[in-house]
Symmetry: C2
Subunit: 336 residues, 2 copies
């Protein structure tokens, strides 16, 4: 690999002039500039960006901690992050953490060892060790989607409680009174928030909360399918099921249909996220649309602003949601 000295030698100038030709061309005379440029292409010079990063102390890399890239919703968020990062000259280092704190800590070390400038965490957990916070007001981090309530870093989230309440109200407005809830992973704050919104709506409508209508899930298709079986085995069958994400809903719908139920005639099903598959399920799924790509954009831009020192206090950004009513929810059947 030819280096800057070789170019300088061939062009008969100093290395500083070569560097300037590339960084601030206006400070170099046109004739020198063209001489340098032709030397560059003659030897096929490509600046070693690793050296540049090393010297500048800025890597232009951002670590992204994602529980699993196999989750379609996260894939959309990552896609949005990618876009925003590229636009601002940053690259993304992907960390598929499986929600494992040790793996997360390993990736977080990349920031402490100058391999990345900052980190985006999509799970409610601070991956940095205590040594990170001294003489610094803000962590070089943004927490998005599933967030920690803290002032250590900016946060990008959605009002999950209100959104879940809106969906539950939608079901209630269709006449449903016995509404099951398939939850997300126990450890996830999202689960608590969405559950709280569900309870809010029931309370408003004067419907008694019954925790026998709560079913376990973990955001996977499989878990939705299994929850459906449990729901069918329940003594009084609910007329509607609110699933804390779309994968769960799609898994559950399959379970119901295989048991011979008609959706929404026998049972209504609602999800959360609006992944691509939801518009193409049978029937199409009623869900809460989250601006996934926007989550990514916002998180990246906030992080870079923190790194640039443009942000001093941790903002909390609340993204909008939209209830998408499709055919999987309908009027409650008459009592059996």
């Amino acid at each position: 690999m030819p280096n800057i000295r070789e170019v300088a030698g061939l062009a008969g100038v100093s290395v500083a002039t070569v560097s300037r030709t590339l960084q601030q061309p206006e400070r170099v005379s046109p004739k020198t500039r063209s001489r340098v440029m032709s030397a560059i292409s003659e030897v096929g010079y490509k600046p070693n960006l690793m050296a540049v990063k090393f010297r500048s102390g800025k890597t232009q890399n951002l670590v992204v901690l994602v529980p699993t890239v196999a989750n379609v919703f996260f894939a959309r968020v990552i896609s949005g992050m990618q876009e925003a990062a590229a636009e601002r000259g940053y690259s993304l280092l992907l960390g598929n953490t499986l929600g494992n704190e040790e793996i997360e800590a390993g990736y977080a070390k990349m920031v402490q060892t100058s391999q990345a400038d900052g980190l985006i965490q999509l799970r409610a957990h601070n991956p940095f060790d205590s040594s990170m916070l001294k003489d610094r007001e803000l962590l070089p981090m943004v927490n998005a989607c599933e967030v920690l309530d803290t002032s250590l870093c900016p946060v990008v989230t959605l009002d999950n409680r209100t959104a879940a309440r809106a969906m539950t109200r939608h079901l209630i407005s269709l006449g449903h009174k016995c509404i099951a809830l398939i939850k997300g992973p126990k450890s996830s704050p999202l689960t608590q928030e969405r559950l709280a919104g569900y309870r809010d709506a029931l309370a408003e409508a004067g419907i008694a909360f019954d925790d026998a209508l709560l079913f376990a899930g973990d955001f996977t298709l499989q878990s939705g399918h299994e929850a459906a079986k449990h729901i069918l085995a329940h003594n009084t069958r609910p007329t509607a099921v609110f699933c804390e994400n779309d994968e769960t809903a799609i898994g559950a719908m399959q379970g119901f249909k295989q048991a011979g139920l008609k959706i929404p005639d026998d049972i209504s099903v609602a999800g959360f996220d609006d992944i691509a598959f939801s518009a193409f399920s049978d029937p199409p799924l009623t869900t809460i649309a989250q601006p996934a790509e926007e989550f990514g954009h916002t998180a990246v831009n906030l992080l870079i602003d923190v790194l640039d020192g443009k942000i001093k206090r941790a903002p909390k950004v609340i993204m909008p949601y939209e209830l998408i009513a499709r055919a999987s929810t309908g009027p409650a059947p008459r009592a059996i």
Copy 2:
């Protein structure tokens, strides 16, 4: 950030000793070693890995070019790459290229500018410019999934033609004679190969090939849904549809069901990939399972072997496939 000099000062040794303590502890006396170690933890020293990479000329980064992370199959492949890379001490730089050659070339430049050691391309296109090949027998690249037939780099693929033939045979064995094919993007070699396999099976069975039974698609749910409409509008309705990927199949199934058809009683549908959603569609989708995560592992390991100089000639690795017969395919209905 404390540096190696600070540690050396505090421990009363030279920087070389600190470096050795970390790199080759056996070459340092136990007492010096412990003195250095306590100095390290006292100042909270973390080696600047950017400096290490710069000096060593190895970044331990691999660029991954993926047409879109939103594709569930690719998400699985990436997940596998991640795993293998982490195991061998490499990080992944993700490039969501949308199949755009300019964007690809931009990411490929990361290798030429020493930001990454090598590249994995999931699309059949060489992203490097001509300057890359001189005095080098192999490109620092691996081409996986959808591959280019070349000896420039190792290739990891699947015998798409044979797999497509197997699926078509499966349909024929169920008595289907009028089998439609929903294709992938025209530009993709996968489409050519799977089409060839489809034709092979028809020819073997003595069924005349009819290109009116070929329908356009682009691997998205949407395109499958639209193709279904076209298929329904066709003068003689096929009794089976082979879709070149699962997303297309799921979109198509929804289209058929909304039109009142029963799957597989009225029409059989088969896919390709075996994404997670396929086991949970209604009915569950018959498909060709590809070892997606294994594709990722293999690609990464081959690439690192190339970088290590362990591989001199470009191997072509053919991954195994498996036909998964589920409920979306069944005996052909009697002629209408």
